[in-house]
Amino acid sequence: MITLGSQGKNTFLEDVNVKSGANVLECYQCGKCVSTCPVSQYMDFPPREIMQMIKLGLRNECYMANSHWFCLTCSACSGRCPREIDIPAVMEAVRHLAIDQNYVNDSKKVKEIRKFHEIFLDMIKRYGRNYELRMMAEFNIRTRNLFKDMHLAPKALLKGKIPLGVKPLKSAKAIKRMFAIAEKLEKNK
């Protein structure tokens, strides 16, 4: 049972709106996002319900959901939203708020997704671009699942989908500087 009206102002809605730049109140619950989303069936709460939960100020329930972690930010939902709400931005905002406030769904799946994001960013930081082979290897090692998707490797290698080496970008240094600035900003926050 959810109790409303006793918490006073809906600060969660304000936080999400400020962070995402969208206005969640615009949502009129048509559900077009849900039927558009390629991963909505894997989410605890599909995007429409997340929007309603934000409107009701259900902060903790929203943080604990896995929906914003599953979101691919493919923007199919916002492309079709009749109220033109930037739903991926809302999902991103919830993701950030959840991390900031140390309030994250700790299911295995979400952990894996977070690791994936971390490794991906690490690759960018190192090479200025993605190095698929190393990324896969690291992901499999860090998630302790060495042979995951290994059967796909030969085929992918033959087709040239997994280059064996990586050629760092010329601007890799600039990207490193960007990371440094971002980390500094994060610390000073």
């Binding site: 959810i2 409303l4 009206g5 006793s6 009129y28 319900e49």
Partner: protein, 657 residues
């Protein structure tokens, strides 16, 4: 000897594809009375009509049969063709071989042809017994009666009067204005209701063509379209309106306090009162049920303070009669009483109010100076829950239909709450948001996005008390979970219901009403303002729930109908009405009971030729009879015939097949 001409139409391919038209023509030619028969591609076209005109003259025809489409389509066209050829137009018969044969028997050409031949034979046989009939001319009294002085009645009266047709406007309460006068602002533009209504009220009072009879009721209507006589009971007001200046000394001094109906009983009025400051007429009346002078003969303060001597405790009800030609019924609606909603604690919890009560509170001239207050402790509420569909769409406790206006007025209320109480939050429990209207959806968006009203999709299941708060429990179907809202005030959007006196009024006027008590229109789509009784029209919520723009449109439509009715000095009417043969009439009066129009009265005629003894027979009022034939069917002595459908005509038809 009758000489019948038959004209069979192909209707392009509509008839010809499925009915063998030449065969039909050959068949009817075999009837001995048929002196001429032919076929044509489009009988309704000019050349087609020309064939009829020519044949009438050439073959000296005495009646005409056109086998074509439904008489509803072209009966008038062909009647005119007969008139143009110098023949009585009612000697025409139409055999409907399109809707009744070709269209419905497309798979079987032979059967369709056989049926078309049967229909033609019947029409020929009937036409042989056709008689010359003549349009009935009825004189018209050019004065209209408008019943009810809400926005519907006001608009209808003003529009009719602007066409320089005198109007009698009868209002039951002491002032015109109706429900709209109780509203604060109106959706979706948030115009102040009083500001747009009161100028119209003043126009009514000062219009040279409007006779305003307030504090009165219609008690009898007799006659027929164009010639009604109405009796109006003018309730004793105990105040002489001619001398009263409306100074207000009387009600200021009156010691008796009574719950104020205008403010939904939230505050008190006096026993002598004007309903609200902008009342029209702005003259007080004495409420006889509460005045101590009238009840016990003691007090009399109002008479003492009135320096015009306008108070008259001996005044009696007065019956006024007026002759009128048309009636506009605009009796409005009642708010549904939410008492059956026991699970909401209606009646137990003080802080549950109805929407009209909320409306009065937020109204600038209301009992709380425009601020919503909790009835229990007079505090300003922060969290307000609005519950929609209370009584509407509820077959168990309320009414089946959607009341149409609640979605929008609730939206308006959430915006008004936001304007009036800073830091307040509105929650709306709803089943659907029905915002079909100009600017309505945008208005709902304004509430949801700009005002931040929280909409929760679900019906409230129960309300209970927790401290001084009310806990409102319902599902939010958007997330599939039960929610409870801690509310300071709960507002019920109660349904619109038909005025409880509507059935009595309908019987009095001789019009019909539906199972809810709303007055019935003649056709739900194509005749939405007329009733089945000629000369009586409907405006506003008395017909069905509707909002102000729709009500005003319908009222203006009524005015157009009344003006159309009064356009000539006399009215023309089809002669297809019942006639009574006094020789056969036994005076059983069964026909009186079945006539839906009240067109039959009793008459006394001599028992025999030259006799002084009288006996009762039925008598048809030509102006009222619509020719439905109910009386013909019920008459056990076969004394009633319907012109154009007499017994010989019908029997001829039956014998012919």
């Amino acid at each position: 000897m009758a000489r019948v001409g038959v004209f069979v139409c192909f209707c392009g391919a509509n008839i010809a594809d499925y009915v063998d038209v030449p065969q039909v023509v050959e068949e009817v030619k075999r009837i001995k009375e048929v002196k001429f028969a032919t076929e044509y591609k489009y009988m309704c076209s000019d050349p087609g009509q020309g064939m009829i005109r020519d044949a009438i003259v050439q073959y000296k025809l005495t009646s005409i049969v056109v086998a074509a489409c439904s008489p509803r389509m072209h009966e008038k066209t062909f009647r005119k063709a007969l008139s143009d050829a110098g023949m009585n137009p009612y000697l025409l018969e139409v055999a409907n071989i399109r809707e009744h044969s070709s269209w419905v028997h497309q798979k079987n050409k032979k059967a369709a042809t056989d049926k078309a031949m049967d229909l033609c034979r019947m029409a020929v046989a009937k036409s042989i017994a056709n008689e010359q009939l003549h349009e009935i001319s009825v004189p018209v009294t050019k004065r209209a009666l408008v019943i009810g002085g809400g926005i519907a009645g006001i608009q209808a009266a003003l529009d009719i009067a602007d066409a320089r047709i005198p109007v009698v406007l009868v209002e039951r309460s002491p002032s015109i204005g109706g429900k709209m006068a109780q509203l604060d602002e109106t959706f979706p533009t948030l115009d102040c209701a009083q500001c747009i209504l009161t100028p119209k009220m003043v126009d009514v009072a000062s219009h040279p063509y409007i006779e305003l009879i307030p504090y009165s009721e219609v008690i009898e209507l007799q006659g027929f379209v164009g010639n009604y006589k109405v009796k109006i009971r003018k309730k004793a007001s105990y105040v002489n309106f001619k001398t009263c200046t409306g100074c207000g000394a009387c009600w200021q001094k009156c010691p008796v306090k009574v719950p104020n109906e205008y403010n939904m009983g939230i505050d008190k009025r006096k026993a002598i009162y004007t309903p609200f400051p902008q009342a029209v007429p702005n003259k007080p009346v004495i409420d006889a049920e509460h005045c101590t002078m009238l009840l016990k003969g003691k007090c009399g303060i109002c008479a003492k303070v009135c320096d015009k001597g306008s108070i008259d405790y001996t005044m009696q009800d007065e019956i006024i009669e007026r002759e009128i030609g048309a009636v506009v019924v605009a009796t409005g609606y009642d708010m549904w009483d939410p008492k059956p909603y026991e699970e909401y604690g209606v009646g137990r919890f003080k802080d549950i109010i109805t929407s009209l009560e909320f409306e009065r509170m937020v109204s600038a001239n209301g009992p709380t100076n425009g601020l919503p207050l909790r009835p229990s402790d007079g505090k300003v509420p922060k969290n307000v829950v609005f519950i929609k569909c209370v009584g509407s769409r509820d077959e168990a406790k309320g009414i089946e239909y959607c009341s149409k206006i609640c979605c929008m007025y609730t939206t308006k209320h959430t915006i008004l709450l936001h304007h009036k109480v800073h830091g307040s939050h509105a929650y709306v429990f709803y089943m659907d948001i029905r915002a079909a209207g100009k600017g309505y959806e945008e208005f709902v968006k304004k509430a949801q996005v700009d005002t931040g009203t929280t909409y929760l999709r679900g019906r409230v299941s129960k309300i209970y008390k927790k401290g001084d708060k009310l806990m409102v429990r319902g599902e939010d179907a958007q997330i599939g979970q039960v929610v409870e809202v801690e509310a300071d005030l709960v507002v019920l959007a109660t349904a619109v219901s038909a005025p409880k006196d509507n059935p009595d009024l309908a019987r009095l006027l001789g019009i019909s009403y539906d199972k809810y008590g709303y007055l019935s229109e003649a056709h739900p789509k194509l005749r939405p303002v007329e009733t089945a009784k000629a000369g009586i029209f409907l405006a506003g919520c008395t017909q069905a729930p509707k909002d102000i723009p729709e009500t005003v449109s319908q009222a203006s439509a009524c005015a157009a109908k009344v003006c159309g009715l009064f356009a000539g000095d006399t009215m023309k009417k089809d002669p297809m009405i019942s006639t009574i043969n006094n020789e056969y009439c036994s005076g059983c009066q069964n026909c009186l009971n079945v006539c839906p129009y009240g067109a039959i009265v009793t008459d006394d005629v001599p028992v025999g030729h030259g006799s002084k003894d009288l006996r009762t027979v039925a008598k048809i009022n030509e102006g009222v009879c619509q020719g439905c034939g109910s009386c013909v069917a019920i008459c056990r002595s076969m004394a009633i015939n319907l012109a154009g459908f007499t017994d010989p005509q019908i029997i001829n038809e039956i014998v012919s097949i």
